[in-house]
């Protein structure tokens, strides 16, 4: 360990740490562009210059290791003057077109120029102009705004292991280039957009959808696959418009794949079930919640009930469903969509996983059996309770033998519109809170990011009602209550506490169990 002083604050940090990282531990932000904790140090932008006593020259904080007894001044006049100069150089050609730049409001160039830059420019020459380039995939390159920090280049070569970006030309003509026909279509390439500190790399999908300050944000967990990447869901006027990675060293570092990013669309669907419905004289008719629950229970009682649960339901919902299965003497099954496994080579144990659902591990831990076809789980005269599963690919003949069908979900599939006795509308992941268990057995919380449509209710809430109506003991007022009950009855979750999960999650004791059967 090394002890030093940064801005008058004593800190003790591990040997070999950079001054920039050490300053973070003291709560001091050293301005920086090229440095990113997830990338190799390049030391090219010179925005992190700080004054170190007894050193003849200013030092780049990102590329200088701490030394015993060092005294570092981040905001001394000399350091400030140097950084002001760096900013002035960066702005020689950079157009301050913040009013139309998609990065405005979350731009580090804007922030530092505001904090430390000159009030005016001494340059009167016209700025360099270069056209915008489509980099392929979701990425647009606005060369004029690029400050050549090379974060994007380093990500593609060192983390994604597919060096399709380069620094082309040199000196004042340099720009980020790619070879003809080699696009940013790597399934992880979208991360360069987040990594770019300025508005030089933009998401085509998000372009002009919102200004950063109009967005509301909530921490969530991506439902794209069983990795469980930590994410932030951003909404504008209650409409999800973007999903961004939320750093978590134990799961996804700073990254998120393209499939995950695009999954926000599912949350923004407008064809939502938003009223409880009951079939009356052959037509699904709007009723109040009480009548719908009564009708649902009526349709299920006295039969063998198969519960088809979505592996994107929270642990809480699955736990209540498990109880319902026991109560109804039924069977709990789930299906999970599968796809190709796509690792991010530079990060250990991070991949777009084969299982394209957030909580298959949770479903297994809570006693649900995986089936490949819905029909295989059904016997003649069964009642089917579908929760969350959209019945994609299920044929009418598979459902032919059913005696009744009850649907709890977010959008109404055709088969349900034709056959269901009752439809109970629930909220989706970003409209409720709860926890998921990822493939490594890590239990992670997600919070509510927007209000639900109509009178749709959180899944755990609806399932609590169903459980109570079938005679099961159910007294839950919060997801935390359900979680506590789950922990107390399931050895696998023993020792966990809803609050102490924090927003980074904790591993379950029996994580081996969770891993069993999961695609690695």
């Amino acid at each position: 360990m090394v002890s030093l002083t940064i801005e008058g604050r004593p800190v003790t940090v591990p040997d070999g740490m950079s001054i920039l990282e050490a300053a973070k531990t003291a709560g001091v932000l050293v301005p920086h562009y090229c440095y990113h904790p997830g990338l190799p140090v390049a030391g090219v932008c010179r925005m992190c210059l700080v004054e170190v006593e007894k050193m003849p020259k200013l030092a780049p904080a990102c590329a200088t290791s701490v030394m015993e007894g060092q005294v570092v001044h981040v905001h001394s006049p000399k350091a400030l003057e140097a950084r002001k100069g760096v900013l002035e150089f960066l702005l020689i050609n950079h157009p301050l077109d913040c009013p139309i730049c998609d990065q405005a409001g979350e731009c580090e160039l804007q922030d530092y120029t505001f904090a430390e830059g000159r009030a005016d420019s001494r340059y009167r020459e016209p700025k360099r102009f270069n056209p915008v380039e489509d980099f392929g995939g979701d990425v647009l390159y606005v060369q004029n705004r690029c400050i050549l920090c090379t974060r994007c280049v380093r990500f593609m070569s060192d983390v994604a292991d597919e060096p399709v970006l380069n620094v082309s030309e040199r000196g004042d003509r340099a720009f980020i280039g790619k070879a003809e026909g080699h696009d940013l279509t790597n399934p992880w390439a979208g991360n360069v957009i987040d990594l770019c500190p300025v508005g030089a790399l933009l998401s085509k999908d998000f372009l002009n959808k919102a200004r950063a300050w109009e967005l509301d944000r909530a921490p969530t967990v991506c439902t794209g696959c069983s990795q469980g990447c930590n994410a932030v869901v951003e909404t504008r006027d209650n409409v999800p418009v973007r999903l961004k990675p939320r750093p978590n060293d134990a799961v996804n570092q700073y990254y998120m794949c393209e499939v995950g990013r695009q999954s926000y669309r599912e949350f923004a669907r407008r064809d939502r079930a938003d009223q409880p419905l009951v079939r009356i004289n052959g037509t699904l008719t709007e009723v109040d919640w009480e009548d719908a629950v009564t009708a649902a229970v009526g349709a299920l009682s006295g039969k063998r009930v198969v519960v088809l649960a979505s592996p994107n339901l929270s642990n809480e919902a699955l736990f209540l469903l498990e109880r319902l299965v026991a109560q109804l003497n039924g069977q709990g099954v789930f299906r999970v969509a599968r796809g190709e496994t796509v690792p991010l080579p530079g990060v250990a144990d991070l991949a777009l996983r084969e299982e394209r659902a957030a909580n298959a591990a949770g479903a297994r831990l809570l006693g649900f059996a995986e089936v490949t076809t819905v029909g295989s789980a059904l016997r003649h005269d069964d009642a089917l309770l579908v929760v969350g599963d959209a019945l994609d690919g299920v044929t009418p003949s598979e459902l032919a033998a059913l005696s009744s069908l009850v649907f709890v979900g977010t959008t109404i599939p055709t088969a349900v519109a034709e056959r269901a006795v009752a439809v109970l509308p629930i909220t989706n992941t970003v409209e409720e809170e709860g926890t998921f268990t990822n493939l490594r057995g890590r239990v992670q919380r997600f919070l509510q990011g927007r209000t639900a449509p109509g009178v749709a209710r959180p899944s755990w809430f609806v399932l609590t009602d169903l459980l109570a109506a079938t005679g099961g003991a159910a007294e839950f007022h919060l997801p935390a209550d359900v979680f506590a009950a789950m922990v107390s009855t399931h050895q696998a979750f023993a020792g966990l506490d809803y609050e102490s999960l924090g927003m980074h999650g904790l591993p379950v004791l029996a994580s081996e169990t969770a891993t069993a059967g999961a695609a690695i």
Binding site: P126, K127, R128, N130, R173, G177, A179
Partner: protein, 183 residues
Amino acid sequence: MSHGPSASGGALVAAPPHGHHHDEPHEPVFVGEARTQLDTILSRYPTKQAALLPALWMLQDARGWVSDKGIEEIAALLAITPAYIKGVVSFYTMYHQHPVGRHFIQVCTTTPCNVCGAEDVVKSFLEHTGCGDLGLTSADGRFTVIEVECLGACGFATPVMINNDFIESVTPESVPRILAELK
């Protein structure tokens, strides 16, 4: 897209005229003799990547310039991505990113030579070759003229390199004679 000369400073190598494409079919360069030569070069380095500069040089020697197709060929041989190679090619002014004239004329215009009248030498070359402007190729395909940074012969202003030949103390007046001696 093309990245033309910037407004903020003179380009050392100008871009070809807009809309100019070079998608002629590519005959592999590294076959037979050339392949053996590349293998010898490769054997000198611990990594394949280290052989990139000489490989590009061979390519340019054979084809006169470094095309995208040529880059793809080297990329496959050295197991590095075309984008990476493109970055290298564009960094060094010695590699041509588009076809140049049979006689590639580089005139030093860095300060010492400039003081001694290098600008006029450049003008004289442009005029007598019919190239019109820096980086463009004369209509007969014979000449391309560019400015270069210090050629390391400041005492013999103005030095000029024509392909691999070095000519010292060039004056605007000596240009026609120099050109006449070229085939």
